[in-house]
Amino acid sequence: MKLFLVGLAALGLSLGAAQAQDIDWTKVTLEGFEVPLAYENEDGDLIRSGFTFRTPGTQAMQEDDFANPAFWRVDEGEIAWSTPEGSEGKSCADCHGDAAESMATVGTEYPKVDAESGELLALEHRINKCRTENMGAEAYKWESQGMLTMTVYVRHQSRGKPVNVAVDGPAAPFFEEGKALYNKRVGQLDMACKHCHEDYYGNYIRADFLSQGQSNGFPTYRQKWGKVGSIHRRIRGCMGNIRGAKYPYGSHENTVLELYIAHRGKGLPVETPAVRN
C-alpha cells in the first residue's frame, strides 16, 4: 500500500513503481541496445536491470544522452584515451587504437582473471596496470575523477551488449567466494546482500524501492551522490547501511562480490553511464 506515502518525491516513486509492474520489460530495448532490460532465466526468475525499478523521470535522464548528467565523461574520456601520459610518452590509443573496436566487449567481461598473475581484476585494476606497467604513469586513485572518466569511457564502448563474465575455470574459486560473501550476514543489522536484493526486491524499504542490485549500469550516475560512482562505492554504501565494516576500494572482497553480482545479471545490457536515484 503506497497510500501512506506523502510529498511530491514520494508520489513520483509510487507512481513509478506502479507503472514498472505493468510493463513487460523483457520486451523493452533501449535505442541501440542488442538485448532487452529484463529476461527470464532457466529457473523462471525474471532478471531485471535497475533501470526497470526506477521512476520514469530517472529513466528519461538516462534514455537521452543530452539529459544524462554523466555523459560528458564519455567525451572527456575519448580525449584522455589518446592523451600521452607517463614516462613512456604513450597514450592508451598508442597500444589499443580505436576504443570502439578494441574495447567493444571489454565492458561486458570484467571482472576477469589476469592470465599472467592469476589475480581477479576489476576494470579499474586493469587500467592501473596499463598505466603503471606500460605507460610509466601513476596509478589513478580508485574513485578519482580520472579513473571514473576512463572507466565510464571504456565500459561505454560495450553499451547495449550483454554482460558476459566468465565464472568457470580460473574464475571459479573467485565466483564461489563472491557468492559466499553475497549470502553472508554482516554488520550490526546482520543482513546479507541477498536479503534485500533477492528476497525483497520490488518492495519499499522506507523510502527506497528495492531493486535486484544489478551492476550492469556501473559506473552509474546517482542523483544522491551528484556524480558517477564505481560499483565498489555502491557496495560500500550498502555495507554502511547495514552498519558493517566496509571493504576497501579495490579490495579482494569487493572484487569477488563484483564478479558474483555481474554473473547474477549475466545477459543484461551494459548501460554505462546509467542513471539511478
Partner: protein, 150 residues
Amino acid sequence: MKTLITALVVATTFAVSASAQDMAYVVNDDDYTIEKSLTGVPGDAGAGQAAFVGRKKGNCLACHAVEQLKDSQLFHGEVGPDLSDVGNSYSAEELRLRIVDYKVINDDVIMPAFFRSTGLSNVGKKFKDKTILSAQEVEDIIAYLLTLKS
C-alpha cells in the same frame, strides 16, 4: 552463530548473555516468548513510538507500515507485515522475543535482532559489541506495540 541458534531451539529454557553489559534473558522456545521484562521498569509507549520510527533507533517503520502513523509524514516500508493490529495478535512476552532476536523463530529472516551483540560478523567500528536498542528501548517499543489495535 548457527550453534547458538540450534542450542536455543533444542533447549526448553536457556539463559543467554545478550550484550556487553551482561544482560541475561531467557528464551522459552515452547511458545516463543521471553517472559521476563529486560529491565523490570515498565515500558513507556510514547518513548516506544519514538524508538519505533527513529532511523537511528528501531527504524521499524522502514519495513512495517502502521495505519495509526499514516498522518505522520513518514515513509512506511512494506518488507514486513503491517503492524496496525499487532497489539491484538501478540502478547508482551511474544513481542519481546521477536524484537530481541527474531532469528530464534526464523533463521532466514531479514529483520534484525535488536538486542543481541554476539554472533555477528564484520560489524562497523562504531557499532561493535553494541546492541541496536537498549533494554529499556525494547520494553518501550513493546508498550507502544501493545497500543496498536485496529
